[in-house]
């Protein structure tokens, strides 16, 4: 249904979810880019050699998961805001999701926020663990939130000031 409503299906996502073994090792990138468009800043931003060089600028990004350190420097550089960092090793019950967030008000570290899925529906509440909002991010802050582990592949946005405050 991606082509009809902008929400990727499970099948769409399967091609983009990092391998289980890699997820078990720590933070890793997930690029939700499903269409060949002329764009390559994710490769330019990656200093780890994880996001492979594009043969054709229209290619979808290819990732060498062994090289990815989950540093997140690509997140704020994607013009499509389609890059997320997933850390399933955060704690026993929780994972973290780092996502680009270009809205006001910004949450504060430690603040409880609503966790939203890819359709903007509230699925849970969680704490903001970290905010990166410096010169490098250039007005595309990267917010890291703790989410219930089973929702690590579901939560892709937050809402500040909802029920979660």
């Amino acid at each position: 249904m991606l082509l009809q409503n902008g929400i990727p299906t499970t099948e769409d996502l399967e091609t983009r979810i990092p391998p289980k073994e890699r997820l078990a090792k720590g933070p890793v990138v997930m690029i939700e880019c499903f269409q060949e468009i002329p764009c390559n800043p994710c490769n330019t931003a990656c200093k780890q050699g994880a996001i492979q060089e594009f043969k054709d600028i229209n290619d979808k990004p290819e990732i060498d998961y062994d090289n990815c350190t989950g540093c997140g420097l690509c997140v704020s550089k994607c013009p499509g805001l389609a890059i997320f960092i997933i850390d399933e090793t955060y704690s026993d019950k929780e994972a973290t999701v780092s996502l680009p967030y270009e809205f006001l008000p910004l949450p504060k570290e430690g603040q409880e926020v609503d966790l939203l899925d890819r359709g903007g529906n509230k699925v849970s509440q969680g704490k903001v663990v970290k905010i990166r909002n410096g010169k490098y991010e250039d007005r595309t802050p990267v917010i890291t939130v703790a989410v219930p582990k089973e929702l690590s592949m579901v939560v892709r946005n937050i809402r500040v000031g909802g029920d979660g405050k």
Partner: protein
């Protein structure tokens, strides 16, 4: 009468790049723009651009506009005429008529002309489509991002192409609620990453829907409600599928058409090419029209993206300068690079329509 070697008409992404490229080869350029600030529609593009580093990918359109404008202002070979609207071209004498500051009429004669006038927003027929509160999506972007005023409280966006999706996102950033984005086509026309961005905000995208009618408030006479309905695969509305949305703003984002008046006046050979938004000039690979010495670049040459407009501008600027004998030894290399960049940007599946369109025009 003023004289210049190369006149560039329009100071948007294409015109700025054209002026810079021609000046860099050594030509003397006059850049004419009707607005106070250079940058064209870049001045309201708050999102990051696609493409590669060469096209300033990952930089916001507003910042690209400022960067290019500053470069042009600082270039000793470029003379800038802002607040200057070209109101006619007289082909018999090769004179461009310009209204400056809405007061003076200035005649400008140029050896070569690069027309980079851009495009304007298309309209859509439906009942009460002329109500106040119904705007072009780009107009709302101007109002919000350039002038800092929001258009209203609740918006219906008509058109799920890149402009419709981007402006919806930017409305939400400005604190305005977008109730829905609809498109008569069965699938989203814009980049899917833009669609996913607004979907994550909870904005429903409804494909195969079109506007049935708009309704005014009886006292204010401005938009108060709009009804939408489903269309079948032949684009025919299906009665009984109507939904009514309470909205005070309706944005129309159903494409752009090239602002080609000057090309018609110049007697350029024009062709109707729907893939490129309307009537566009036939041209060589180097962007010279059927009238020798008149070049085109950007949306007026065919509605596309700002990144390709910039490279087309560069290409037209290089060639116009070269045709006057200016070549600082780097022409071949830069010319080839620009052609390669354009090829790359258009070579993927999303460039198919553009390729089809251009193939009908290039001789």
């Amino acid at each position: 009468m003023r004289k210049t070697e190369i006149a560039v008409i329009g100071g948007g992404p294409a015109g700025l790049m054209a002026a810079l490229a021609a000046a860099e080869m050594g030509a003397e350029v006059t850049l004419v723009d009707k607005n106070n600030n250079l940058g064209g529609q870049l001045v309201k593009q708050t999102h990051m651009f696609f493409g590669s580093e060469k096209e300033h990918a990952s930089t916001r359109g507003i910042d690209i506009g400022k960067l290019l404008a500053k470069e042009a202002q600082n270039h000793s070979k470029i003379k800038i005429m802002n607040n200057s609207e070209v109101i006619g071209y007289y082909p018999d004498d090769g004179v461009i008529g310009i209204e400056v500051e809405e007061e003076k009429f200035v005649k400008l004669k140029a050896d070569k002309i690069i027309i980079a006038t851009g495009a304007s927003e298309k309209f859509l027929p439906f009942v009460n489509n002329d109500l106040p509160g119904i705007y072009g999506a780009g107009a709302v972007q101007t109002l919000m991002n350039e002038h800092g005023v929001v258009p209203g409280n609740d918006v219906l966006m008509v058109g799920a192409g890149n402009i419709g999706l981007i402006v919806s996102y930017q409305l939400m950033q400005a604190g305005v609620n977008v109730k829905a984005i609809i498109d008569a086509a069965p699938k989203i026309g814009g980049y899917l990453v833009h669609a996913s961005k607004v979907a994550r905000l909870g904005v429903p995208i409804l494909t195969s829907y079109s506007v049935k009618a708009a309704y005014p408030n009886q006292i204010t006479k401005a938009l108060e409600r709009a009804s939408i309905w489903k269309v079948d695969q032949n684009w025919q509305p299906i009665p009984g599928t109507e939904k009514v949305l309470k909205v005070d703003v309706l944005c129309i984002s159903v494409g752009l058409s090239p602002l080609a008046e000057l090309l018609w006046q110049a007697g350029c050979n024009m062709k109707y090419v729907p893939q490129l938004g309307g009537h566009v000039p036939t041209r060589t690979n180097d962007l010279e029209t059927s009238v020798t010495g008149i070049y085109v670049a950007g949306d007026v040459a065919g509605v596309e993206e700002a990144s390709s407009a910039m490279i087309e501008g560069r290409l037209a600027g290089l060639n116009a300068a070269k045709s006057l004998g200016y070549d600082n030894g780097t022409y071949e290399e830069k010319h080839q690079e620009a052609l390669n960049q354009l090829h790359d940007l258009r070579s993927g599946p999303v460039g198919e329509k553009i390729r089809e369109g251009i193939s009908q025009l290039v001789s």
